[in-house]
Symmetry: C2
Subunit: 372 residues, 2 copies
């Protein structure tokens, strides 16, 4: 079976590395003009001329990013099986649609309002109570197109900074930590849930994911499973779906979802019985799902901006290096390291030891360290 992947970055690369052992072949469709996938066949098509050619070459279609125009996804879905479905893309591309769906399915979120001008942004900030976070309703990711308002008087400046005709305004919530759940649904409707991860961001970019999330109450994992299962079933979704959440004193609140394999699931390559990448390929190919159980305790460390001392990292007996074969650039994800351990205490020591060879890495803060 030949799988067509829309997008040709590191997620596509890791999908292919997981898919070859299942006898899948890959064709990547790149709209950026700078594919980095480094394996498989790549069709570079900035002007959208070769989409039909791409389609004729593949048996099924999936994607590694959610910024594909929905009309393109729908066109594809009329000719080939496309997983996940275009509706999932549509929801994920629009924060209003996403939060509305969360509400319809009983998934708690921070309070939110829409604004379409500086004045209505100010009014929303006043009504919700500052601080609030304003985000462009479409097209934002990795902290871009966002502004925090500490006071309604900052509405004018925030509006100008975001520069988008429609924004969602969310009440700032006090959370204990950021977490995510990754689930996978098969064509037969089977669903499997990975253990949740605890995520640490820095300058809007994910830096560390620990899984299973330390000290997580089983009831919290169950809540997250209930929420993501509701999304999967409502969307008749096939493949891997990620839901980012805040853990608060009052339980979980959903932040956003991603209709794809996710950076906070990279730990699954060595840290779970079946990686998120293999499970996505299994699902979109119509196979049974693989075992999602954790193997030990993992922390994924992102390699951002510069590679650091790769040779020293390769010497660490508990570190698994995954490079994306990309050039260095500020803020760019160049690879990740999966650190394995048998206890959280050991894990923290190992992650700190490993991170010292990554000069750009922020201090490893996590819920264990702050508790301890």
């Amino acid at each position: 079976m030949r799988i067509g992947v829309l997008g040709a970055g590191q997620l596509g690369r890791m999908l292919a590395l997981a898919g070859y052992p299942l006898a899948k072949e890959f064709v990547f469709y790149d709209m950026s003009g700078s594919p980095s996938v480094g394996l498989g066949e790549v069709i570079v098509d900035r002007e959208g001329k070769y989409l039909d050619d791409f389609l004729s070459r593949v048996d099924r279609v999936t994607y590694e990013f959610e910024h594909l125009p929905v009309d393109v996804a729908e066109k594809l879905a009329r000719q080939k099986i496309v997983h996940p479905c275009p509706r999932a893309l549509q929801v994920c591309q629009n924060r209003e649609a996403e939060k509305t769906l969360f509400g319809q399915l009983g998934i708690p979120t921070p309070e939110w309002k829409m604004a379409d001008s500086a004045e209505s942004l100010r009014a929303a900030a006043e009504a919700l109570g500052c601080p609030v976070v304003a985000k462009s309703v479409t097209e934002g990711y990795d902290g871009k197109g966002q502004a925090v308002l500490k006071d309604p008087s900052q509405a004018e400046a925030a509006w100008a900074a975001i520069g988008h005709p429609k924004v969602i305004v969310e009440k700032f919530i006090h959370f204990q930590r950021e977490v995510s759940i990754i689930a996978v649904r098969s064509e037969d409707g089977d669903v499997a849930f990975y253990p949740m991860a605890e995520n640490t961001h820095h300058e809007g970019i994910l830096r560390y994911s620990i899984a299973p999330a330390p000290g997580l109450q089983p009831a919290i994992q169950k809540d997250a499973e209930k929420y993501i299962k509701a999304l999967l079933n409502e969307l008749n979704y096939v493949g891997v779906l990620t839901l980012e959440l805040f853990e608060t004193e009052n339980g979980l609140m959903a932040n956003e979802m991603a209709p794809r394999v996710h950076n906070s699931g990279h730990w699954t390559i060595e840290g779970a019985m079946t990686s998120q990448f293999e499970n996505h390929i299994r699902a979109v190919s119509g196979h049974a799902l693989g075992n999602v159980a954790a193997r030990g305790i993992s922390c994924m460390i992102n390699i951002i901006s510069e590679h650091g001392d790769i040779e020293r990292i390769l010497e660490l007996p508990y570190a698994h290096l995954h490079l994306y074969d990309k050039g260095e650039r500020p803020g760019r994800k160049l690879g990740h390291i999966n650190v394995l351990a048998d206890s959280y205490e050991e894990l923290i020591w190992r992650v700190r030891n490993c991170a010292q060879f990554l000069p750009g890495s922020p201090e490893f803060k996590n819920s264990l360290a702050t508790r301890g």
Copy 2:
């Protein structure tokens, strides 16, 4: 770094899958006319016209099989770094040279003699005492070019069946089981040893490898490490080396070595901290070696001749499928399954359960089952 691999079969495929996450790229050089690697760049060159072109494209050279002409390897080594060294190839291509080297390094082997005619084969069989195994001194593998003599009178027929001008005659030994050790040596001379595997062959082809080998005495592992280390250092070897041995009442006896990643090490993909494939790539690229410790207990099951019921195998929560994307053919290796467990009892049950979906698989016999 771009690594040139001589050969383009499943071993090259698995080397590439392990090498991409280390930011390696791959060019395969295929002399068979039927490459099956399925990824990377492949130069098909049955007539040996494009070897210089291949060399100009790569930074370092390694191989996935030992049947490369030594003069070709030596030519390559004058222009690029070639790991392992051509001398290792030379030794592995000639059973007389191999057994002679074993003897020089104090590695025990069954008693052996050379023969260059039916008469000298008969004399060797009489001197050693039947049964004996006669093998062509070069070019044999997977049980081909071999004959068992139960009586010296069978010399004429055996000589004709082997059809080679020179044979090695080995005394048949009573062994408890077949085992192998895989080791890796870095450019700096560091050496690491995987836990030994217990191997079961059927019709001359490896079927099952259990690792770590059940019930293995630590002293036996130490002996095997001593033997393979002597070979690695004597050959100034860089990369993965495999030594196949018999475990007898009187300790280990060496059978043969392979200068490459080996089928009896496929369990390391999920069953060890670092796979044999990654460690070979690390070594030939000049990096530090990875951790060779086992993760739990593994059994590798080869998929031979036909694929069996792949969909059912994908449903097993403890099975990891590795397909080579090759067409079915009698005796052909099509893939393997790594079965993981926490105990040998659990492993045996799981392997039997998995093997029922592989119609060509022989009964799973192993030292545990016969002891139990």
